[in-house]
């Protein structure tokens, strides 16, 4: 089989992994090596595929042969697909060839389980070692830790990679037992705990010894599949929150389930992936990481799923009207962040600008505040925005009407004659 065919098979098998970021590691030029890691905090996108997702890393599997039989996975052993594997040398050469042409920021290496987890991880270590040591590659590497691998090997892998990840995939243990009979919750969480501890140890060592080899400097991430099981948004978001708290994850990715295999345990093949639900979860995820929200605030027992017609922040604000309106000239940073239409950048600009100037609505626009959202929740110098008419009752309809225009056409609801007009 030639390289082109192998690449097609092994990237096709890897594409359902959502993680594709190159953030978190900053490394400049090192003599004798090729590459640096991106100078910006957000990483660097090299292209966008037809589905609108960013391509930043060469995302491939080491091999798509797999000993496991997870129902949701295209590479499960009972699925009849062509199987192949990269040789470590091939993979290293391909990565360098792409990197030199600025196609990619680095390598994302995952793998099916060939023979057993230890053997697979050894294969991955060998590839990364060739890449780092023979080809002197100094760019970004994201490596998957395979559940069930012995801790020593996972540690070795982490010394070669910038970021590591272990995919939880199914957000509940019941789902795991039903759909991934070869995996257990503890087998997934064990490497996660290991990576967390090693990263912390490594940080402490780096303070003492400058040249300690770095272990996964960009931390770890994971992925949850949305829509393959019946777990509620609240369950998924609470899980996310505890992953950030307990395992110090850098990111949790959500992947709307795309039916790839026929199985009586899974949604039918013609089910559309729940993209809007995935989008709402990402919005909420941002609120947890950058806006100081907690999962318990966003969803409750009474409302276990997100309102598809409204973003989570607006949704929260609407049900906490007692905290609004907020006076722009006086509110503190934390409160400004909770206003729909104001983000971290806008809030910081407001703090800086109001030291020298009395802010007006026109100013706010220039500071990057999205007034069409924020106007319902703020006062500027004690005044509401001129010409704005609303009551707490009509507000929801007005916000929803605005949001409707932003949704992709097939996700937006059909306008009804009986909708309240904004």
């Amino acid at each position: 089989m030639d390289l082109l065919e192998k690449l097609a098979i092994l990237s096709d098998a890897a594409k359902y992994d959502a993680a594709c970021t190159s953030s978190g590691a900053r490394r400049g030029y090192e003599p004798g090596k090729i590459g640096n890691t991106s100078s910006s905090i957000a990483g660097c996108c090299h292209s966008f595929s037809a589905d609108g997702r960013c391509i930043t890393l060469l995302k491939v599997l080491m091999t798509n042969c797999c000993a496991f039989d997870c129902q949701y996975c295209i590479n499960r052993r009972s699925n009849d697909v062509r199987r192949t594997a990269f040789t470590p040398k091939e993979l290293a050469e391909l990565t360098i060839g792409f990197y030199r042409r600025n196609y990619i920021e680095g390598l994302f290496l995952s793998s099916g389980v060939l023979r057993n987890p230890d053997y697979t991880t050894e294969l991955m270590i060998r590839s990364l070692r060739i890449l780092r040591e023979e080809y002197r590659f100094n760019g970004y590497i994201h490596a998957k830790a395979i559940p069930g691998t012995s801790p020593e090997l996972t540690y070795q892998l982490g010394l070669l990679a910038d970021r590591m990840s272990v995919n939880i995939e199914l957000p509940s243990e019941a789902g795991l037992q039903k759909l991934a009979p070869d995996k257990t919750k503890s087998a997934i969480l064990r490497p996660m705990g290991l990576i967390r501890d090693k990263v912390q140890e490594n940080k402490a060592e780096l303070v003492k010894y400058k040249h300690t080899p770095r272990f996964a400097p960009a931390g770890q991430s994971t992925q949850l599949i949305v829509g393959a099981t019946r777990d509620s948004d609240r369950h998924i978001l609470n899980l996310t929150q505890s992953l950030y708290d307990k395992y110090r994850l850098k990111r949790v990715f959500y992947s709307a389930y795309v039916p790839v295999v026929e199985s009586s345990l899974l949604p039918a093949l013609d089910t559309k992936p729940p993209l809007l639900r995935e989008h709402r979860l990402y919005q909420a995820d941002w609120l947890l990481r950058f806006y100081g929200f907690r999962a318990e605030e966003l969803l409750t027992k009474q409302q276990p799923d997100f309102n598809t017609a409204l973003d989570p922040k607006c949704n929260w604000a609407i049900s906490h009207l007692e905290q609004f309106p907020v006076e722009i000239m006086r509110a503190d940073y934390e409160m400004l962040l909770r206003v729909p239409g104001i983000g971290p950048v806008g809030a910081k600009r407001i703090l800086s600008a109001r030291r020298t100037d009395t802010l007006t609505y026109e100013n706010l626009k220039r500071l990057g505040v999205v007034l069409k959202r924020a106007q319902y929740f703020i006062t500027c110098g004690g005044k509401m925005r001129e010409g704005l008419r609303f009551t707490p009752e009509t507000m929801l309809a007005q916000l929803e009407a605005m949001e409707r225009g932003l949704l992709p056409p097939h996700e937006a609801q059909q306008l009804s004659l009986f909708d309240a007009v904004g």
Binding site: L3, L4, L7, A8, S11, D12, K15, Y16, G28, Y29, P31, G32, K33, I34, G35, N36, S38, S39, S40, C44, C45, H46, S47, F48, S49, A50, D51, G52, R53, C54, I55, T56, L58, K59, L94, G97, F98, R100, R101, N102, Y103, E105, A256, V258, K272, P273, L275, S352, A353, R355, T356, D357, L359, E362, N363, L364, R366, L367, G368, P408
Partner: protein
């Protein structure tokens, strides 16, 4: 004393612009227009031709640093943007800096600072995108790329690519501003060029182009197709120089010398100023 309205002619460089600021304060003249590209402006106003003196430029630069440590960086970046009448906007900002101090730079909503801040944001956005979207071709060991940016990004891309490909030799050609960034053996130079031809790539290059195209097409999940999102993230104006959006001829090596394409249009990249018809440029 009233400042006289004057038209300033200078050499189009950043130092030249700083000298204009210097001259304007020395002669108590208010520059109502700047002419940095040799195009004559017809007017009844007096015209002053400003010679670039590095000592004067330095004085202005240091005085800006004294007002605010952020100021020189903002003015320099502002000068690289594609803002219409950028010199006048920057001149107004410098005046306000001298009169009111650093506070103007803290308020992004300030009517004098806002146009410059907005233009710099546009520049930063383009810079961020181009760091990823630039595509090199291997021309027998030397890496070469072409870009078509709106702002003058090459001076700002320099550091990133010189660190990334420190052991390589490479060049990046800016079609819009006819500028070439050259790098080899730890040294880089930025030179204006009149005409530019890209050499034909080596055999191996075609293999990698095909591999990349294959990867690009495979990695998309069909069930999630979302061209609106794709277009927002990657406006069409960038695609003219990106490997994955080139026509088929870009991926097959020319068989005989007769089949070689003209020098100014290497392998299907549209020549400068002639956007290919299949790729309409993005609005704005």
């Amino acid at each position: 004393m009233v400042w006289t309205d004057t038209i300033y002619q200078y050499d189009g460089t950043f130092d030249g612009f700083l000298c204009c600021v210097y001259e304007s304060y020395v002669n108590k003249e208010f520059p109502i227009a700047f002419d940095g590209d040799g195009e004559w402006i017809f007017s009844l106003c007096p015209v002053r031709t400003v010679n670039t003196v590095s000592e004067h430029a330095r004085r202005i630069y240091l005085s800006l640093t004294k007002r605010s440590p952020l100021a020189p960086q903002i003015i320099r970046k502002g000068f690289l943007t594609c803002l219409a009448d950028k010199e006048q906007h920057l001149y107004a900002l410098i005046r306000k800096l001298y009169e009111e101090g650093a506070s103007v730079l803290r308020n992004r909503g300030d009517p004098v600072f806002y146009p410059v801040a907005k233009a710099i944001r546009h520049l930063d956005g383009e810079l961020e995108k181009l760091r990823g979207f630039i595509r090199f071709s291997d021309l027998n060991g030397i890496l070469g790329a072409e870009i078509e940016p709106k702002n003058r990004v090459l001076p700002l891309l320099r550091g990133h690519f010189c660190s990334r490909y420190a052991n390589e030799s490479f060049f990046i050609y800016d079609r819009t501003h006819r500028e070439l960034l050259l790098y080899a053996k730890g040294k880089s130079r930025l030179i204006p060029v009149d005409s530019f031809e890209m050499a034909n790539p080596c055999k191996e290059e075609y293999l990698y182009r095909n591999l990349w195209k294959k990867f690009y097409d495979t990695i998309a999940i069909r069930e999630r197709n979302n061209s609106r999102c794709q277009n927002t993230q990657m406006p069409k104006r960038y695609r003219g120089t990106m490997t994955e959006f080139q026509p088929e001829s870009y991926f097959t090596p020319p068989e005989s010398p007769a089949a070689l394409q003209g020098p100014s249009a290497p392998g299907g990249i549209p020549a400068p100023g002639k956007p290919s018809e299949s790729l309409p440029s993005a609005p704005g």
